[in-house]
């Protein structure tokens, strides 16, 4: 390859704006001249050339104004955006949001696709109905549309998805923190990753709070430090939301709970809040100055303030919400007791909370926590009237969904249930 050729060679991803441009020109040409016109064929040839440089297979997603290649944003200017919009609109009217190019295809294939897209651009919804093109396919992406339509996603499903993603993020954060600690590198809270978790969590809770809690409580697998940390954040948010505390304050307390838990929890048990208090602020502030253009945002300051207060002699005299952070952190720490392999259920944790009410824990906060869960918390083990055992999936006013040991879900009256400790079985 000669030097000029080398210079002209682009990364496959870099040619995507050209693919979009050529597809746009083709669409417009077909609209004005129809697919059989020589101009249209000429333009289809341009698409073929652009696609050849892009090295299929790839998928192009048109979502909310953005264009993605395999979920990675295609960078375009305002002009490129407008062109992409024309394609997105046509595709969206046909009920699709993604085009997959499995291999290089000829002009005819692109002309057939564009003939369908033109119908969409003109308002029809059946332009691609029954159309099959070898090497090209298309599909709908839920929640990818514009405007209110985008909010049609089932809140419960959305909450579960967000919580699952949160859990995955938390596991990654914890793993990376552990690696840093083992390597003796700077051990700092990754703020941006933490904010992603908190934002996701907030969206999930906003969509369906019980579904979020249920997802964490009933997920399969171990109660890892990351899972317990996420549970801490959820519990704090739930209590504060139920108390109708402002979202800003709730975010701060929940985020601190997440950070503190990530920092202190080990595979089984972990350090207490007081044991960690000395290094907590340094853990938080380590990456501050380098990361903020416009100074620390208020949220960061407030989280750091709570962290600072925890190291003070009587932190809760400043801000009583620290009691809640401490209570929830302590309970989740005990979720996975050291030296045994049993994980406690939420009901067990509430049993500990009530046992130590007024001794370790401020009674009013224990009450606030119980207020969120009620008498039959999700995840609690129960014995039914007939001696059958199960786990509470969902508790309503008078009825409770119980997942039985056999894997069958049964709805029973709450009076027929007796809570059983995980340690009693």
């Amino acid at each position: 390859m000669t030097e000029p050729q080398l210079q002209e060679t682009k990364e496959p991803r870099e040619v995507m704006p050209e693919v979009v441009l050529s597809l746009f020109v083709l669409l417009k040409t077909v609209m004005s001249h129809n697919a059989g016109h020589p101009f249209a064929r000429q333009m289809a040839g341009k698409v073929v050339e652009a696609v050849a440089q892009s090295e299929p297979e790839w998928s192009l997603q048109f979502i909310r104004g953005g264009v993605f290649r395999d979920r990675e944003l295609v960078q375009m200017g305002a002009g490129g955006f407008r062109r992409a919009q024309t394609i997105a609109l046509a595709l969206s009217r046909l009920g699709f949001h993604e085009i997959t190019v499995a291999k290089e295809v000829d002009e005819d294939a692109w002309l057939r696709l564009c003939a369908g897209l033109v119908k969409g651009a003109l308002g029809a919804s059946d332009g691609l109905d029954g159309v099959e093109i070898d090497g090209l396919s298309w599909r709908a992406i839920p929640d990818a549309s514009w405007g209110d339509e985008a909010e049609e996603m089932d809140p419960e499903v959305y909450a579960i998805v967000q919580t699952t993603l949160c859990r995955m993020d938390c596991e990654r954060i914890h793993e990376s923190l552990q690696k840093s600690a083992q390597a003796g590198e700077g051990w700092y809270w990754p703020w941006s990753a933490g904010l992603v978790v908190m934002r996701r969590l907030e969206r999930g809770l906003d969509a369906d709070t019980p579904a979020c809690a249920r997802t964490v409580e009933l997920s399969p697998g171990e109660w890892t430090p990351a899972r317990r940390a996420l549970s801490v954040a959820i519990e704090i948010m739930r209590v504060l939301i139920k108390l109708k505390v402002g979202i800003r304050e709730a975010r701060v307390a929940a985020h601190l709970g997440l950070i503190l838990s990530m920092m202190t929890y080990e595979e089984r048990a972990g350090r207490t809040m007081l044991e960690a208090s000395g290094g907590l602020l340094s853990f938080l502030t380590g990456q501050f100055s380098a990361s903020e253009r416009t100074g620390l945002p208020p949220h960061h300051v407030r989280v750091s303030t709570l962290a600072h207060l925890i190291a003070q002699p009587d932190p809760s005299k400043w801000l009583p919400v620290i009691h809640l952070v401490s209570l929830v952190h302590e309970l989740e720490r005990e979720r996975a007791p050291e030296g045994v392999s049993i994980d406690l259920t939420r009901a067990d944790l509430l049993g500990i909370a009530t046992r130590d009410m007024g001794v370790r824990f401020a009674p009013v906060w224990v009450k606030a926590l119980i207020d969120v869960h009620g008498a039959l918390p999700v995840g609690a083990r129960v014995r039914l009237g007939g001696g059958e055992q199960g786990v509470i999936l969902d508790a309503r006013a008078k009825e409770v969904d119980v997942l039985l040991g056999s894997g069958v879900m049964k709805t029973v009256g709450s009076q027929q249930l007796q809570l059983v400790s995980a340690l009693e079985l």
């Binding site: 979502i63 104004g65 953005g66 979920r71 944003l73 960078q75 200017g77 305002a78 002009g79 985008a150 996603m153 089932d154 499903v157 998805v161 993603l165 992603v196 579904a211 249920r214 997802t215 009933l218 997920s219 399969p220 109708k244 505390v245 402002g246 307390a253 602020l281 501050f288 100055s289 100074g295 620390l296 208020p298 949220h299 300051v301 407030r302 709570l306 600072h308 207060l309 801000l319 009583p320 919400v321 007791p337 030296g339 045994v340 049993g351 500990i352 009530t354 046992r355 009013v364 009450k367 606030a368 119980i370 207020d371 009620g374 997942l403 894997g407 879900m409 007796q418 809570l419 340690l423």
Partner: protein, 560 residues
């Protein structure tokens, strides 16, 4: 759409665009542009900029179209999910600058957008309400996990929770033994179960309210933030003093908490600390002292004490702002309670300093009245109050004299005299009416003395008559009525009324002295001359020819 709003929208969007583009070059120039934008937006605070992919709209009308090369921040903001920007009432120019810096740094890539959303979520855009739609990045996250929720419905949620307990619940005997050895695990679930079932742990509404209030207590948050920021070097180094100051100001105005005011005092005492200086500079730029006085409750004695302490630490300009706000509050809220609270506050201040900062001589009539009223309420000494009266303008002082107790009148005599001599006629006449109504000889002396001294001034006939009547009543006619009658410098009404009353009720001796023939009377008005003549005739004087002869004799003597 209303044309004015459209024009305003165009101006605001253009200025914001300019600000963002400037932020990419050099930040120093952002201050002024931010202030302009803030001022402009402040004129139509309800205006909302709707952000489109390549344009900005106000009320569904495009007010700004993105420049192909330069306007890419609009597209980036749109792609990050920003749908509209509105200014909050508490916004300041800094907020626009920070937004511009963040928008200027925003690029069309996932990392940059994520960071921008982090900033928004962390309350970075204080002072501005930014409406966000779920960004496409967030949509993408969920895309492959849920394939078609509309088809599956909520039942899918249950499917997504994998059955965890497919078999028997069982714990090994060894495990149970280990549990038994751990006293901290010896917990019975019954206490919780029974308590929750029988509502033993139910929260009282009062408890809920208490918890909610404690979590949202702005004063506590502000104090804690200040405490943390001021004592922790790591935190402080990452903070912008302006932002801390901004929150402090919000909390201060919202709560008016004495502890927060005390913190500000503590900042003033940290004279050599650059951070404290920067925080205070921001507070002062935002006229915090004025806002405090105007907005917070002044009921609490501790608040008043803290404000007193704060006043003593403020710069001269801030003290002036403080004092001016007190007067404004006094003038705009007429309730008795408010006045009493301000009087209690004034007692906490150094009076001389306060008076100096009020600039008494420049106060308007109403402000001067309010100021003096406040001073009287705190029991200012009559002698000191006399100096207040010296400084205040005439109309206010005239009105004040009508309200003052005698002790203050006595100390203010000099001012009163000056007022009677120099003040506008309307002030003098009002004051004269009041003083006469007191029916005290002292005030008649004052009035008559002033009238005599300023005998050439045209007081109204009514006032002159009232004063002259009072003079007669207190038998002061020899001193105040006789002299002006033959004094041609005195105003005619004064002379006429004085003569009239003297002829009516005066003694013969005084009438004789007042009507004794003088050559100068030929220069008087004929009517007046006639009255003097009548007076002489009443006393049985010789006819005028004798007097004419006398006059001729005097003339001859002069010629000789």
């Amino acid at each position: 759409m209303h044309g004015g709003v459209g024009d305003m929208g165009k101006a605001i969007a253009s200025l914001l665009d300019k600000l963002v583009r400037n932020s990419r070059n050099q930040r120093e120039r952002l201050d002024l542009a931010s202030q302009r934008l803030h001022a402009l937006w402040g004129q139509t605070p309800t205006l909302e900029l709707a952000i489109g992919p390549d344009h900005v709209m106000v009320d569904d009308e495009v007010v700004f179209e993105a420049h192909k090369e330069l306007g890419d921040w609009i597209l980036a903001a749109f792609m990050a999910g920003v749908r509209s920007i509105r200014m909050d009432a508490r916004a300041c120019a800094d907020d626009f600058m920070l937004l511009a810096v963040e928008l200027g740094a925003l690029e069309i890539n996932a990392t940059s957008m994520l960071r921008f959303r982090d900033w928004l979520w962390s309350d970075g855009s204080e002072g501005l309400s930014i409406k966000l739609q779920r960004s496409f990045v967030e949509v993408l996250e969920a895309m492959d996990i849920v394939v078609d929720p509309r088809a599956t419905g909520s039942s899918r949620a249950k499917e997504l929770i994998p059955a965890r307990f497919g078999g028997q619940f069982a714990i090994s005997g060894d495990e149970l033994e280990r549990v038994a050895e751990r006293p901290e695990l010896q917990t019975s679930i019954d206490l919780f179960s029974q308590g929750a079932q029988y509502r033993g742990f139910e929260m009282a509404p009062k408890e809920r309210a208490m918890l909610r209030a404690s979590c949202m207590d702005a004063e506590r948050w502000a104090l804690a933030e200040l405490e943390a920021s001021l004592t922790n070097v790591e935190l402080r180094q990452s903070l912008q003093p302006e932002r801390l100051a901004r929150r402090l100001l919000d909390y201060l105005v919202e709560t008016g908490a004495p502890s927060l005011i005390a913190q500000v005092c503590a900042l003033y005492r940290m004279e050599d600390d650059p951070f404290a200086t920067a925080v205070l500079a921001y507070l002062e730029r935002a006229y915090f002292a004025q806002r405090l006085i105007l907005d917070i409750s002044l009921e609490d004695e501790v608040v008043l004490s803290r404000l007193g302490e704060l006043f003593s630490l403020l710069s001269v300009a801030q003290q002036e702002s403080f004092a001016s706000a007190m007067l404004e509050r006094l003038l705009t809220r007429s309730e008795q309670e408010n006045t009493q609270q301000l009087a209690r506050l004034l007692k906490k201040l150094d009076l001389a300093t306060y008076r100096a900062r009020v600039h008494e001589s420049l106060l308007s009539t109403n402000a001067a009245m309010a100021h003096a009223d406040l001073l009287l309420r705190i029991g200012i000494a009559p002698k000191e109050f006399a100096s207040v009266l010296e400084a205040l303008e005439d109309v206010a002082v005239g009105r004040l004299f009508e309200l003052l107790p005698d002790a203050y009148m006595i100390e203010g005599e000099q001012r009163l005299l000056r007022l009677l001599q120099d003040a506008p006629r309307v002030v003098i006449e009002d004051l004269a009416a009041y003083l006469l109504s007191r029916e005290q000889v002292g005030y008649v002396h004052l009035l008559a003395g002033a009238m005599l001294k300023e005998r050439d001034r045209q007081w109204s006939r009514k006032t002159v008559r009232q004063v002259c009547e009072a003079i007669m009543l207190h038998q002061l006619e020899e001193k105040y009525l006789v002299p002006p009658i033959r004094d041609r410098k005195a105003s005619l009404p004064y002379r006429e009324i004085a003569l009239e009353l003297l002829l009516e009720r005066g003694s013969e001796e005084l009438i004789e002295r007042a009507t004794k023939w003088r050559l100068s009377e030929y220069f008087d008005h004929p009517d007046f001359r006639e009255r003097i003549k009548t007076g002489r005739e009443r006393l049985g004087s010789r006819p005028d020819h004798k007097t004419l002869k006398d006059r001729l004799a005097v003339g001859e003597e002069r010629e000789a």
